[in-house]
Amino acid sequence: MSEWIYVALFIAVGLIIPIGAIAAGFILGPKKPNPIKEATYECGVEPVGEAWIQFKPQYYIFALVFLVFDVEAVFLFPWAVKLGQLGLYAVVEGIIFVSILIIGLVYTWRKGMLEWL
């Protein structure tokens, strides 16, 4: 448990640095805003509308396949640690687990969902 207190302390220290940097920039930098400066950058032309519009929602499939394989990777971590003791039996278990997921990957691939167009 105490090791995690050190990690927490380190994260706290790590938070101070960016916050301090932003504060320093805020205090020391000049501030002379005007509406033209504040306009959204769109290569020099007047910005058209907002950016919060609908993009191609099909891309969510990447996030979903990522989620599936991320869960798989988390399951493989204890598997990898225990491998030495569990023996070849464990390798077979792992191969079954992964090959079921690979079926999904191949299916997604064949249906053309892994193309970023």
Partner: protein
């Protein structure tokens, strides 16, 4: 009052506050961010209980993968500020009923626990070893082998389902 209890109480407040923040944010992205914070607090609860593996998996899978998926969907759809126009008429009564059931259940469990002599002791530092992880892996890959393999089928179904839904959408757009 020991320090662990103080940490627990503070974290509980954070967890409740972030949950409420998630419910009451008008903007869907803010809701998602509150939920991320909530997941991270839950991960710290796991750490307090001496389950670092579970804590880190919680962050990797929930905060890191599921919420990224949510954010992706919200952003790609441009659905940050959707009006709650299409609430179904039976949603509200059902929600109230379910929350009452949950409340009664939680109270009962709390009281039952308080009466039992079961005391929760915090695990000691010995858990910070590879052996504790190996024991967990041992259980997972022998006793719970079938659920483990079924998980992969569940994940497969999720993938196939998403592909089918996306393709249906694509077909409709054409």
């Amino acid at each position: 009052m020991n320090s662990e209890l103080i940490v627990f109480l503070v974290l509980s407040l954070v967890a409740i506050a972030t949950a409420l923040g998630m419910l009451f944010s008008k903007n869907a992205v803010y809701s998602a961010l509150f939920l991320v914070l909530n997941f991270v607090t839950v991960a710290v609860f796991y750490l307090l209980l001496g389950a670092p593996f579970l804590a880190m998996s919680q962050i990797t899978v929930y905060a890191g993968a599921i919420m990224v998926l949510f954010l992706f969907v919200i952003m790609l759809l441009g659905a940050e500020n959707l009006k709650p126009s299409n609430a179904l008429p039976w949603q509200k009564p059902l929600a109230i009923l379910l929350s009452v059931i949950l409340g009664v259940e939680a109270t009962y469990l709390l009281l039952a626990r308080a009466r039992s002599s079961l005391s929760v002791t915090s695990p000691d530092a010995a858990l910070n070893t590879m052996d504790s992880l190996r024991n967990m892996a041992e259980t997972l890959f022998s006793q719970f082998l079938l659920p483990f393999e079924i998980t992969s089928i569940l994940l497969l179904v999720a993938m196939v389902g998403a592909v089918v839904l996306t393709r249906a959408e694509k077909g409709a757009a054409k």
